[in-house]
């Protein structure tokens, strides 16, 4: 039990502190040794990040396999089969075709299939948005009226038909973007910055559960 606790709690905290120190020192002390350590760590952080992509794919297969075992329906088998099929196709293409990612066959799959499919999903968002705006953007209260007016004016500002019809919409839309939105966005950035410091301190003190005891 003590060993498990040591591995799951103490080792991650120790690693966080060891690697956080050069990053902190780099910000405050201009010394070649610190720069060298920081630079080396920066290089390795990219490598570790890329390994994360690979692990993501492994977890995807693991998750899909577990879901298929748990719920052995035709749809689930089809989903797992498609995942395996496309993975084999892409890996096979990468290994066998010359030109790697720039091979015309790979590019055909990418542009004719993947791009069309992902773009269609992105486009569907607008349909959902129209339906949601129709149901939700109603002047039910003072707050929702302000939201409605801001949303309507800013959206109209983005359509040249409305700015052509009523030129005042352009400056009013810009004002909404550059003043009320700017205030809110600035506040969000400041909150994020303080939040990041807080999370970093909590991680180093071992109080941030998301950084330790990873399953």
């Amino acid at each position: 039990m003590a060993v498990v606790s040591f591995l799951k709690r103490d080792v991650p905290i120790a690693l966080i502190i060891i690697f956080a120190i050069p990053f902190l020192l780099y910000r405050y002390i201009d010394h070649p040794a610190i720069k060298a350590v920081y630079s080396e760590l920066g290089f390795w952080s990219s490598i570790i990040s890329m390994i994360g992509w690979g692990l993501g794919v492994v977890y995807l297969f693991q998750g899909e396999y577990a879901a298929t075992k748990r719920n052995p329906s035709t749809t689930q088998y089809l989903a797992f089969g498609l995942l395996c099929g496309f993975s084999l196709l892409l890996v096979g293409m990468a290994l066998t075709l010359p030109g790697d990612l720039n091979n015309p066959h790979y590019l055909w799959v990418y542009y004719a299939f993947y791009r069309s499919q992902t773009t269609a999903f992105y486009g569907l968002m607008f349909l959902y948005l129209c339906s949601a705006a129709y149901r939700m953007l109603r002047a039910r209260s003072l707050e929702s009226t302000v939201l409605l007016l801001s949303a309507v004016i800013y959206t109209m500002r983005n359509a040249s038909f409305f700015t052509w019809l009523a030129p005042w919409i352009g400056p009013v839309g810009d004002w909404i973007m550059h003043y009320p939105n700017k205030g809110a966005a600035s506040a969000a950035v400041i909150c994020m910055a303080f939040g990041s410091i807080l999370i970093a301190v909590r991680q180093m003190l071992g109080r941030e559960r998301t950084a330790i005891e990873v399953a």
Partner: protein, 283 residues
């Protein structure tokens, strides 16, 4: 039971509860109209887009621009007009530009885009390795990018095609962020921290309408000289620069889609107030 409930609804309730399939169909029809028959709705070029283009046009001959490129399939329809117009402006100017690839899909996309730009590359007499170059993709973490700004060769030794950086003429006098004159960024917050604060390199921002536009105003006028987000502003950039392309074509479809959206919002509110008034009358 359900049918009885439907029968009980008055006219306002029926208008206020339109089936989503009707909404989807009407919007699809509206967006499809300009594909068959372009309308030619006039475009208004916003100040932020003018500032974006002017920052590129104001570059001195020999200036070095770092373009942080993160093109991937899902967002391309929204942002590709901006990419293409920006590449055309850069190719038409006597400047050098380095493309820092930031997404695993981007190496293919950047090469595909430059294949399509071949007429412009030939027209302006530009050459890969002399006037522009592409870095290979790596996962640019905070630490990696700070190392990159301190010494490019700490992170990259080769370009996207495996040519050593020292063999590329463009890289002869480029060693760190001190040598950049402008950064084209997708994330104003990160790059203000990484490039503007330590090196005073101004930024211009490109990106998707939803991913960039709400977040850039706090930096606009300070670290960000201009910005361009989404296909419609891509159309504005095309119009302003004179390099017409897909963005201008999207303008009609976008306008009709927004007109549809506005009509639905108005109808929804008329139904809401109609229902409220009819309930008041019952009392």
């Amino acid at each position: 039971m359900a049918k009885e409930k439907v029968k009980e609804r008055n006219i306002w309730q029926r208008i206020g509860l339109l089936d989503y399939r009707i909404i989807y169909t009407l919007v699809l029809i509206l967006v499809a109209i300009p594909i068959w028959s372009p309308i030619g709705i006039p475009l208004r070029v916003g100040q932020n887009v003018k500032d974006y283009a002017d920052a590129l046009y104001a570059l001195e001959p020999g200036s070095v621009v770092l373009c942080k490129f993160s093109g991937y399939a899902t967002m391309l329809p929204d942002v590709e007009p901006i990419y293409m117009a920006t590449w055309k402006i850069l190719l038409s100017r006597p400047v050098k530009f380095l493309v820092l690839i930031q997404h695993p899909d981007s190496p293919s996309i950047i090469q595909y885009e430059f294949e399509r730009l071949k007429p412009y590359i030939d027209e302006y007499g530009k050459e890969y390795g002399v006037d522009y170059m592409f870095f290979p993709y790596i996962s640019m973490t905070e630490a990696a990018e700070i190392s990159f700004t301190e010494n490019i060769r700490d992170i990259f030794t080769e370009d996207l095609f495996g040519t050593p950086l020292d063999e590329l003429p463009i890289m002869e006098n480029i060693h760190s962020a001190h040598d950049f004159d402008l950064v084209i960024s997708m994330s104003p917050e990160y790059d203000t921290r990484r490039y503007y604060v330590p090196y005073r390199i101004p930024l211009i921002c490109w990106g998707t309408g939803t991913g960039l536009l709400p977040f850039v105003p706090p930096y606009y006028g300070y670290s960000v000289l201009g910005y361009c987000g989404g296909a419609s502003q891509g159309g504005e950039l095309e119009l302003y620069s004179g390099f017409l392309g897909e963005g201008v074509k999207y303008n009609d479809a976008k306008n009709l889609a927004i007109i549809g959206l506005m009509v639905f919002i108005v109808v929804g509110n008329i139904a809401y107030f109609g229902e409220k008034l009819s309930k008041g009358g019952e009392k």
